[in-house]
Amino acid sequence: MKSLTKLTAGIVLLAAHMLAASAWAQTCSCATVPLLGTMQSASPDDSQWFLATTYEFRDISDLVAGSNTIPDQTGRDRTSQAMVVELSRGLTDKWSISGLVSLVDHERKISGMTDSASGLGDGLFMVKYSPATISLYSKNTFSFGLGGQIPLGEDDAKNNGLTLAEDLQPSTGAYGGLIWAYYARALNDSGGAQVYGSTSYAYNGENDRDYRFGNSLTVTLGTSYQTQTPWGFSLELFYRDSDRDERDSVEIPNTGGSWVDIVPTVQYHVTEALALKASGKIPISRDLNDALQFSTKYAVSLSALYLFGGGD
């Protein structure tokens, strides 16, 4: 294979990898927001760095009874915004580490009153092991990860001296554990077309107010296509099942449930190592616990992904 062809194939592989490495898990206004929703599954090679920054806007105004969206009729406006910066480093060809920090803004407007809190949220670190990676010589990527969540920011934000609701706090105030697995398979020789899937389980600890966000299981199935141009696309189904939150070991009703979302993504490569990615998230099925919950109406995100360092 000529060197130019190799370079082109390499660019396509990188682009495809960034593209397929989209949503890892997404939560709805609860624990580990927005970390899981924006974490990339890319595992940089030996001595490489991977820097990703993601802005996400989430409209959490759907009022859902079980599986049915019902009229809220209260004029409530509930949104969350997040900025997540992720830095990963390849330690060897198979091992890498990632760290994320988040800046979040939660806002609830209702009845002429705005309650909001913003600031540093939770952090996340993860060790990843990737025994196989799609390349010119392999059609499969396997990755596994183990990590933890660290409460970096404020978890007792107040308004008028009163502590805001748990879902409005920038940080969960709790440590947690994460386990994750990812698989992708190339559908063509260039690796530009892939199918992929991932699963994760997040355990959330208890904060100082004895509150614990529900543990959650996620499964993602998707397909991606990186064209020979800078453009690439992906489409995935995202499933999440979350336990009820607890306070002092008492389950809180109207929390938790299961969600299925569809996540379309478009990606543009500014250079061979720098990509911009835009994603949307639209719920297609929900089965939420108990009588009534607010849930995500839609979410949009914009990411900049940058790979640097390492050798040829």
Partner: protein, 376 residues
């Protein structure tokens, strides 16, 4: 495989990062919507704010009902409500209305009554307490809304005239311009819907046509009514009984006073036959009338305006009349003399209502329990 970083690429990345970061910038803490009049800044609370919790939905996130939205029907024609489900009856200026818990669970406040004589019924599903307050027609807006806050798990209301915050169980404004104001009371009677329907066939009952789409067949809080767990910490966790034991309690005095003399009577201990307990709480002579099967209990002052202290006996099989006194007067469940020498007289209301035990014990720490305690 990948090229090394160079300054141009890093610059592009930082520009993108800065752009997206700017979109997320904001200040911390609560803030007021600049497009509306900001609520008053609260500097004084009469209760420990460490035990005031944001319930999640926000101010008015649980929509209070207003009179113009309400449709009433005869309780005889309403078939959607299980007769064994609880309901609250309010008697105001001779008119009796019945409000099922099934609806109150979802709205917590009903602003009702004619414009020149309004009243507000509030019901807190987490403390199982219902009280009614007369509206103040001197105010341009005498209605209340759900503040979205809870103290000791109990509903905090706000009045729409001044935005003051009111404790339902203390029946007092605990913050805002009307701080320390104590509400007047309207007598309510809580019982099974079927009991109230049979007692007051000519009353009007609130229907599910409220203007809101809610699952009135469902209960919004899971197994909360039976479980020992609470969703929010309380100032005083009194474990002498199961937390959700339904009690009717009476306290002395008014306002916020955790150490007020108080006493409770467990509804489950009255038994299938109506009991009338002539009792003394503090310096007040009271009668407690209850029936477990009917899920009903009320407390009235036994002392009349002329200084006479009556002694009561239970009356069976003549609902809504529930007791007689030694003078031969028959009294109904709203404390009105319906026959006998004092016909037309009215027993004085007391500071009493039904609630879950944990809530009563949290609000009133010096509470005596009447019946034998069987433990949680």
């Amino acid at each position: 495989m990948f090229p090394l970083c160079n300054r141009n690429k890093l610059f592009i990345f930082l520009v993108v990062t800065a752009f997206t970061t700017a979109a997320c910038g904001n200040s911390g803490g609560g803030r007021n919507n600049p497009t509306t009049a900001p609520p008053p800044v609260v500097t004084e609370w009469l209760v420990n704010i460490d035990f005031i919790f944001d319930g999640g939905p926000g101010k008015d996130g649980i929509p209070a009902l207003v009179q113009s939205d309400l449709i009433f029907e005869s309780p005889q024609t309403i078939l959607t409500i299980n007769p064994n489900d609880l309901a609250v009856a309010v008697k105001h200026n001779g008119i009796i209305k019945i409000y099922p818990h099934d609806i109150l669970d979802w709205h917590e406040i009903v602003n009702d009554g004619p414009p020149d004589d309004p009243y507000t019924l509030s019901y807190c599903p987490l403390t199982g307490s219902a009280v009614a307050w007369p509206g103040e027609i001197t105010h341009a807006n005498s209605t209340y809304g759900v503040s979205g806050l809870l103290y000791n798990s109990n509903l905090l209301l706000y009045d729409r005239e001044t935005d003051s915050v009111w404790s339902q169980m203390y029946e007092t404004s605990i913050a805002g311009p009307r701080i320390r104001e104590v509400s007047e009371r309207i007598q309510v009677v809580e019982a099974k819907f079927g009991t109230l329907r049979d007692m007051f066939p000519d009353a009007m009952a609130l229907t599910r046509t409220t203007g809101y789409v809610r699952d009135y067949n469902g209960y919004p809080y899971g197994d909360y009514r039976e479980s020992t767990g609470l969703f929010y910490p309380v100032t005083n966790a009194d474990t002498r009984m199961h937390p959700k034991t339904r009690v009717i309690g009476i306290r002395q005095g008014t306002g916020v006073n955790e150490t007020a003399t108080s006493k409770v009577y467990q509804l489950a201990e009255f038994g299938a036959a109506t009991q009338a307990i002539n009792d003394q709480v503090g310096n007040q002579s009271i009668v407690v009338v209850g029936n477990t099967d009917l899920d009903i209990a009320v407390i009235y002052d036994r002392e009349l305006a002329d200084g006479t202290i009556l002694t009561f006996s239970p009356l069976e099989g003549d609902l809504p009349n529930i007791m007689t006194d030694t003078e031969g007067t028959v009294w109904d469940v709203f404390g009105t003399a319906v026959s006998g020498p004092r016909t037309g007289a009215q027993l004085a209301k007391t500071q009493s209502y039904t609630a879950y035990w944990f809530a009563w014990g949290a609000h009133f720490t010096e509470t005596e329990i009447h019946f034998n305690v069987t433990g949680p």
